[in-house]
């Protein structure tokens, strides 16, 4: 009986790991093809120039929910208003903040409450009012502030923002995110260049921990020097430059990050908007948009662009990381419960047949398999049934594979060209990569399992506050960084999820 189990388990692990490894290599190759295509046909400066002088450039709305953001809201809104794009509006949704977020906005941008005829295209918590500027400053005229009763989730606030946006496309972001000056040009371009209807565009996001930000603008992108954010930076880069790029190449992208992504407003409304009850509302939104398009028999595309357009502050310590990853784990589990009919369903094209099946086996079930693996190895060791020679070869092989994958990420990042200015900064990535399989990966496995457990037993989930250290800022004249901003809270964090 034991021999039978040993054989079955060994064969299962061999098959499982072979599929994972081959999927990584396939994704790296697909990503390479996509980056090469991008490099061949895309010229950032040329595109920006063309869009700048054209009256056909479509308008974009930026929706940014804010909850208790009094410490940074003014700087960040000014930063959003100073983006370079001919036609855009910024919609800040004050999600019933308990601090002075709204008062500060009113005071700094000369806002007044206007009698806006609000129509609830997507159901949200009660709308309190809409504010517009009475100032003559043309930049301020782009600003709209929506005040509503707290809905407890970013989804509810985003839906209120979607209800008031006036453009065909809207970008969903957070007020604490730092956007690239030309992010809007980059994110709109795929919708214009494609022959098919582009319903969503995802852009690369990175960690802002450790970077230097001046007046809400990224001055010097640097890798985080603390381990936890550094691991996340590596994880984000891997997810965006390999995973998502590869899936977008075959039009099977499963998630457009809630931190920075652009959506077709019409499809979002028809799909019912963000689900306020979901713990993975961004992934759920994409699923519902795809469901709508497939059910209607319409063609669509979801695109991933490789340039870094947004920097966000990641959890600075284990406590916050635990809370974040537990919620993501729970969100993934919940997602599969809600959209189980799409898994392996060819009616939902490659997304249903391929991506959801892959994510089910190699993302949702991976922590379970990994935990069983740990337990079984310990049990084998106790029984003396371990061939140490083989196991070391396997571990070493996997470790080298992980390091090579990091090298691929670094090479893609330098190729794409929106990376760190100093090449030596990549040594931090190498350091993170060396430690990741030993420290970060087991922790994530544990946090994900905790999320599944909580979902199965229906434990009450508290969104909690995301403790932020604040990114480094510099005075315009001085090179020395100022002290980090005081900790603040946010309704939730962004998820790369691939």
């Amino acid at each position: 009986m034991l021999e039978w189990f040993d054989t079955v388990f060994s064969v299962f692990v061999a098959i499982y790991s072979t599929i994972i490894l081959s999927s990584y290599v396939t994704m790296a190759i697909l990503a390479f093809m996509e980056h090469r295509k991008h490099y061949t046909y895309h010229d950032d400066a040329y595109t920006i120039e063309e869009l700048k002088k054209s009256p056909y450039t479509p308008g974009i709305s930026i929706v940014a929910p804010a909850y208790n953001e009094e410490k940074t809201v003014i700087t960040n809104v000014k930063s959003l208003l100073s983006l370079d794009y001919p036609d855009f509006e910024v919609v800040i949704v004050n999600d019933g903040s308990k601090d002075k977020t709204l008062e500060l906005l009113i005071e700094n941008f000369d806002l007044v409450k206007v009698p806006y005829a609000y129509v609830e295209k997507i159901k949200t918590k009660p709308f309190r009012g809409l504010y517009k500027t009475k100032s003559d400053n043309p930049a301020f005229k782009r600003l709209t502030v929506v005040d509503k009763v707290n809905g407890g989730t970013k989804a509810d606030a985003s839906n209120a923002g979607v209800n008031v946006v006036s453009n065909k496309f809207f970008v969903c972001t957070d007020v604490d995110c730092v956007l690239d000056q030309y992010a809007l040009y980059r994110i709109i371009w795929p919708t214009m260049a494609s022959t098919r209807r582009v319903i969503a565009v995802s852009a690369t996001m990175r960690m802002s921990n450790g970077s230097i930000v001046e007046e809400g603008k990224m001055v010097d992108a640097r890798p985080p020097h603390d381990l936890i954010p550094l691991f996340q930076d590596l994880e984000y880069t891997r997810s965006f430059l390999i995973g998502k790029t590869a899936l977008a190449r075959i039009n099977a992208l499963q998630n457009v990050s809630g931190g920075f992504g652009m959506f077709d407003r019409e499809i979002v409304i028809k799909a019912g908007g963000y689900d306020g009850d979901s713990f993975a509302e961004d992934m759920d939104m994409v699923a519902r948009m795809i469901r709508y398009m497939c059910d209607a028999g319409e063609d669509y595309r979801i695109v991933q662009i490789p340039e870094t357009c947004c920097w966000t502050e990641g959890p600075p310590n284990l406590k916050v990381l635990n809370r974040q990853r537990t919620r993501w784990g729970r969100g993934l589990f919940q997602f599969y419960g809600v959209h189980r009919d799409m898994v392996g369903n060819r009616n939902y094209r490659r997304y249903g047949a391929l991506t959801l099946t892959y994510v089910l086996f190699f993302e949702l079930l991976a922590p379970v398999v990994e935990m069983i693996g740990y337990i079984t190895v310990v049990w084998f060791i106790l029984r003396g049934a371990v061939n140490y020679h083989t196991i070391w070869i396997a571990f070493l092989g996997l470790y080298i594979f992980a390091q090579l994958l990091t090298m691929v990420i670094i090479s893609y990042d330098t190729w794409v060209g929106t990376s760190f200015k100093r090449k030596k900064d990549y040594l931090w990535f190498v350091l993170a990569s060396l430690l990741e399989p030993i420290i970060y990966h087991p922790l994530n496995t544990f946090f994900s399992l905790r999320g599944y457990w909580k979902h199965i037993w229906g434990t009450q989930m508290v969104w909690g506050n995301m403790t932020r250290k604040g990114v480094q800022s510099v005075k315009p004249t001085g090179p020395k960084p100022m002290a980090p901003a005081a900790p603040q809270s946010a309704p939730e964090e962004k998820k790369p999820n691939a």
């Binding site: 061949t40 010229d43 054209s54 005229k141 214009m192 090579l404 090479s411 190729w415």
Partner: protein, 397 residues
């Protein structure tokens, strides 16, 4: 003890055999797994090496660009700022280029950023003949030709973009090679090049291509090309001919109508109206209505009113806005919109109608006040919304 010195071949064979026998010790699944893993790693290593070489090459190129900028920027500015047309020898002397000057591809390419910078800085006071001669002195036309005739698609596309950016010269015979190529992006850039610089009628290719795909990207680029042509006094296309074009391409027809609107070709309005009378497609009709409205073509009002009741909500909104833009002060138009405001159920259409009535001169304002007096609690917020100048100020400023 005896020692043997292995030859290089035997040395490698020795290690390969050791590796083989070590591998043979493992069970079959492990062997397969190890070989598979090795192949995967090999692929990753190849990607890394390829990208590292590319990055290194890019780094070297950047250094070359910097070096060229330091050396030639001011000299180039001197050349293009001269009012008198300089002889090629004079330009070579100013640039201090060696005799029998030849450049490698990389060097030519490295001049482009500097040339672009010169062009941007001197845009107002630049001598066009000297600019052309400067690019010729640096052998840029020959470089662009070689790039376009190379096998690398990226080089071809980049060369077309650079020619457009630098306003450089290129043999028409070279550029026209790719007007019907299968690669859609390359085809688009070749056609854009032809459209920008063609001296006869370069838009024929658009009119005759039965497989034409006209994306939003092309809309943006063609409009910029047309602005360039108008600015430089080159032949403009016949937009009405595009509208009536066979084989039909809806996107191109809509683009043509929009161009009539943007270039304010009022003489085409009568033909647009005739097209509207027979048009059944919503997108094309909306473009026509918008154009006629913005060009303030009063005779179109009658047709607008005729279409209104059978139109979709989207078309109704466009019609209302067009009627508002014409603003002829016709009382029939106002009563017509007021009636529809009271009957329609669509929120957006109602708001558009109300806004148009509110801005439709004195006659419209009177009707608006009357509607306001009769407003129900449901419609009351609409009136407050319309009257507030701060809402939609960005759009209606």
């Amino acid at each position: 003890m005896e020692y043997y010195t292995l030859s290089r071949y035997a040395y490698w064979k020795y290690y390969v055999l050791i590796f083989y026998y070590k591998l043979a010790e493992y069970p079959k699944p492990v062997r397969v797994w190890l070989i598979f893993g090795a192949i995967c790693m090999l692929l990753l290593i190849m990607i890394v090496i390829g990208n590292a070489l590319r990055t290194f090459s890019h780094y070297r190129f950047e250094r070359l660009v910097y070096h060229n900028r330091e050396r030639y920027f001011e000299r180039m500015k001197t050349v293009v700022s001269q009012a008198r047309t300089l002889e090629p020898g004079e330009i070579t002397a100013i640039l201090e280029l060696p005799k029998n000057f030849k450049m490698k591809e990389r060097q030519n390419r490295s001049f482009i950023p500097t040339l672009l910078e010169v062009r941007k800085e001197m845009s107002g006071s630049m001598s066009r003949p000297n600019w052309i001669r400067l690019t010729q002195a640096l052998k840029m036309p020959a470089y662009f030709e070689s790039q376009i005739l190379s096998r690398n698609v990226r080089k071809k596309v980049q060369a077309f973009k650079d020619v457009a950016d630098l306003d450089a010269t290129l043999k028409e015979a070279v550029a026209s090679r790719y007007l019907f190529t299968k690669n859609r992006k390359l085809q688009m850039h070749a056609r854009l090049h032809a459209a920008r610089f063609g001296t006869s009628y370069p838009f024929k290719v658009l009119e005759e291509d039965p497989n034409l795909v006209f994306t939003d990207e092309m809309v943006v680029k063609y409009h910029n090309v047309l602005v360039y042509r108008q600015k430089n006094g080159l032949t403009m296309p016949n937009f009405v001919r595009w509208c009536n074009r066979v084989p039909i391409n809806d996107e191109l027809r809509i683009f043509a109508v929009n161009e009539i609107r943007l270039f304010k070709c009022k003489e085409d309005c009568a033909e647009l109206l005739a097209m509207l009378e027979t048009s059944r497609e919503e997108a094309f009709s909306c473009a026509l209505i918008r154009a006629l409205g913005e060009l303030e073509y009063v005779p179109a009002e009658k047709e607008f009113c005729r279409r209104y009741l059978s139109a979709s909500f989207t078309e109704r909104q466009v019609l209302a806005e067009a009627l508002g833009a014409i603003g002829s002060g016709n009382p029939e138009v106002v009563s017509f919109m007021v009636d529809d405001f009271l009957q329609t159920t669509d929120y957006v259409t109602r708001m558009v109608l109300l806004r148009v009535v509110y801005r439709y001169g004195d006659i419209g304002r009177q009707a608006y006040e009357k509607l306001k007096a009769e407003a129900t609690p449901e419609t009351q917020p609409y009136f407050a919304h319309i009257e507030c100048d701060l809402i939609d100020s960005r759009r209606y400023a």
